[in-house]
C-alpha cells in the first residue's frame, strides 16, 4: 500500500509553484495505518550504495525490529528518517503529510520522532535531572529557553520518567558517572521526555548484562502501542524476546519481513547470515 496510492488527492493542498504538498506541522495523518512511509529510498556515499531502493512501512503503534549484517544500511536509514542524511532518490513521509526529506533535524524532533544513537549519547556534564529537563517537550526556541522555568506538571513528568528508567536515586548525579547500561536507559528516558510518536532505537542492549537486557525488553514492549518503536539490534535473543515483526535489511534494501520464525527459516536470510 504505497503512500501515493492512498492519497486523498482531492483534498490535497499543494504549494503554488512546486506543486508539492505543504508540510502541515503537528498533524500526523495515520488514517491509512502506517506512520512512517519510506519509499524507493537510495543513498550513496562516494559510489557506495548505503541504501538501495529501500521501501519500508512502519505501522502506528507497532514494535518493529530491524536486523541485518554490518553495512546493511540500518543506521543510514535512521539518518534519513531523522533528517541527518538526505536521500538521493525516494521519499520519506511521517504520517501521510509530513515530508521528512524537507524538514531539518530539530523540526523532525518536534514533529515527534525521537532517536537513540548506537553509542549512548547523553550530556555528561549535566545531572540526570537536567538531561531529562533538556529533552522535555517544550518551546525550544532561544528566547523562551532563556526564561524557561519548570512547572509542577513538568517536574512530575521528569520524576515519572526517572522512575520508568530506574534512575530516581541518581537524580542529581552527573550523567558521566553512570554505567554503560544506565546511560542507555537515560537516553531512552530522554526520548520519552519528548513525547514522540515514533521511537528509533539503535542497539539499545549493546553492552548490557542479561538482567538489564530483560528490563530493557520489558520497557520497550510497554512503550509499543502508545508509541511506534523501531529497534535496530544485533542480539537475536533480544529480538526474539520483543518483536512481533522483524525486517531484515541487506545491502541497503529489504531482504525479508515477517515473524522471527519466518525470517529465520527464510533461505535468503540464512544465506546472508551464514555465508554462501
Amino acid at each position: 500500500m504505497r503512500r501515493d496510492k492512498v492519497f486523498d488527492f482531492v483534498e490535497q493542498k499543494r504549494l503554488p509553484f512546486s506543486g508539492r504538498r505543504t508540510v502541515i506541522p503537528g498533524e500526523i495523518d495515520v488514517t491509512h495505518g502506517p506512520i512512517l512511509y519510506l519509499e524507493n529510498i537510495s543513498v550513496s556515499f562516494d559510489g557506495f550504495k548505503a541504501l538501495n531502493d529501500l521501501t519500508l512501512y512502519i505501522n502506528d503503534g507497532e514494535l518493529r525490529c530491524i536486523i541485518g549484517p554490518n553495512g546493511a544500511g540500518k543506521t543510514t536509514m535512521m539518518d534519513v528518517i531523522t533528517g541527518k542524511t538526505r536521500p538521493d532518490t525516494g521519499s520519506a513521509y511521517f504520517g501521510q503529510t509530513m515530508d521528512l526529506t524537507r524538514m531539518s533535524e530539530y523540526q523532525i524532533a518536534h514533529a515527534g520522532i525521537g532517536r537513540k544513537f548506537q553509542k549512548p549519547t547523553i550530556f555528561p556534564q549535566h545531572t540526570i535531572f537536567e538531561n531529562l529537563e533538556l529533552a522535555m517537550a517544550a518551546d525550544k526556541r532561544v528566547w523562551p529557553t532563556l526564561f524557561a522555568k519548570i512547572n509542577t506538571a513538568q517536574h512530575e513528568k521528569i520524576i515519572e520518567v526517572m522512575d520508568t528508567i530506574g534512575l530516581t536515586e541518581l537524580c542529581y548525579e552527573r550523567a558521566a558517572q553512570l554505567s554503560h547500561g544506565q546511560k542507555q536507559w537515560l537516553e531512552i528516558g530522554m526520548l520519552l521526555m519528548q513525547n514522540p510518536r515514533v521511537l528509533l532505537v539503535d542497539e539499545p542492549v549493546a553492552g548490557m548484562t542479561h538482567q538489564e537486557m530483560d528490563k530493557t525488553a520489558e520497557l520497550l514492549k510497554s512503550l509499543a502501542g502508545k508509541h511506534s518503536v523501531v529497534v535496530v539490534e544485533h542480539d537475536m535473543d533480544f529480538v526474539r524476546s520483543i518483536a512481533s515483526t522483524v525486517t531484515v535489511l541487506h545491502e541497503g534494501s529489504v531482504l525479508a519481513e515477517g515473524t522471527m520464525d519466518e525470517v529465520q527459516n527464510n533461505p535468503k536470510v540464512i544465506e546472508v547470515y551464514l555465508g554462501e
Binding site: Y106, H126, E133
Partner: protein
Amino acid sequence: MARQPFIVDFLKNDKGGKIFVSILLVTMFVVPALNLLVPADSFFHVPTYTVTLLGKYLSYAMLAIALDLVWGYCGILSLGHAAFFALGGYAMGMYLMRQIGDRGVYGNTELPDFMVFLNWTELPWYWQGFDMFWFAMIMVILVPGLLALVFGWLAFRARVTGVYLSIITQALTYALLLAFFMNELGFGGNNGLTDFKDILGYDLQADTTRVSLFFLSALFLILTYFLCRFIITSKLGRVVVAIRDAEDRTRFIGYKVESFKLWIFVLSAMIAGVAGALFVPQVGIINPGEFSPLNSIELVVWVAIGGRATLYGAALGAVIVNYSKSYLTAAFPEVWLFALGGLFLLVTIFMPKGVIGLWNQMRLKLQGKKQPIAENKIE
C-alpha cells in the same frame, strides 16, 4: 525533591562568584579613595598610572569573560575575538576624535587631523553621528554585534565547527587588520585614532576622569558577570553546554543548534565591544594593532590559564597574564613571548582546568574527598 537545580539565584551556589564580586566591589571603592583622598607622598597613595593600568586589566577581564562564554561553555574556539573588542574600541575612538573639535593640529572643527592630512574636505558618511555620545555607545554594541551576526550566521549555518571555525575567525581578524591599515578606509590607517582630549566634557588627563573610568570598568565587569551568570544558570545555559558536549544529541532532541550558537556568539561579541570601549579612553589610543591575530590568541591563553567555563576564572587569567606581561616586558623585554608560550604549555599539560581547576583540586585534597570523575571535555 527539596533541591531544585534551576534556581536563578545567581550567587547562592556560586562561592567563587561571591569572592570575585566582593573583591571587585572593594577595589572599585578603595582604589579611587587611595588615589584621590590620600596625599601623593603617602605610602598608601595609588598613583593615577596604576589606576589606569588596573582599569585596562579590568576591560581585558571583561573581554576574557566574553570569550569564556563562547569557548568555555559553548565550545566555539573563536580565535578572532579581539576583533570585536577592537571594533568597540574604534567606535569609542571615533566619538573621542569628534570631541577634539578645533583643538587638533590643523584646527579643523569638523575633520579629524588625519583626514585633513589626506586632503579630505568632508566627513565620510560613516563618521556622521559619532559626535553624539549616545549614538557612539549604540555603535559600540551594534557594530561588533552585527559583524558577529553575519559571520556567525554564515559559519554556523554551514556547520563549520572545531578547528575550521577557529581558522576562519583568525582570517576574519587578520582581514580587518589589513583593512584598518589602509588610509583610504578613513580610520586613521597605521596610526589609528589618538590624541584624545576629553570625554563628555571631562578632561581625559584629569585624575578624577581616570578614576571614574576605572570605576566604570569595575562596574561593567560586575554587570557582565551577573549577565553571564544569569545566562549560564538558565536553561539556555544548559542547552549551550549540551551543544558543547554532544551537539548531535542536542539537535535530535529538538533544539536548533545554529540559533543557540549564533545567539551566544553575538552576545559575546557585544560584551567584547563594550570592553573595547572602556579600554580606549584609558589607554588613549586605538590602532589596527588591536586586530592583530596574536591578540586573539593571547586572549585564549588568558582564559585557558584562568580556567575555562567558570567566568571568574577567565577574568582572573586575564589579570594574571597581563600583570606578568606588564612586569616582564619592563624587566626582561626579550623573554615575554617565551614566558607566555611556556605558561600556556605548562597550563595545558599540568592544569587543564586552569588556575581555578588547580585550586578546586587542592581544596578537594585537603578535605580528603575523591576527585570527581567527570572531566570537562577538552577541546
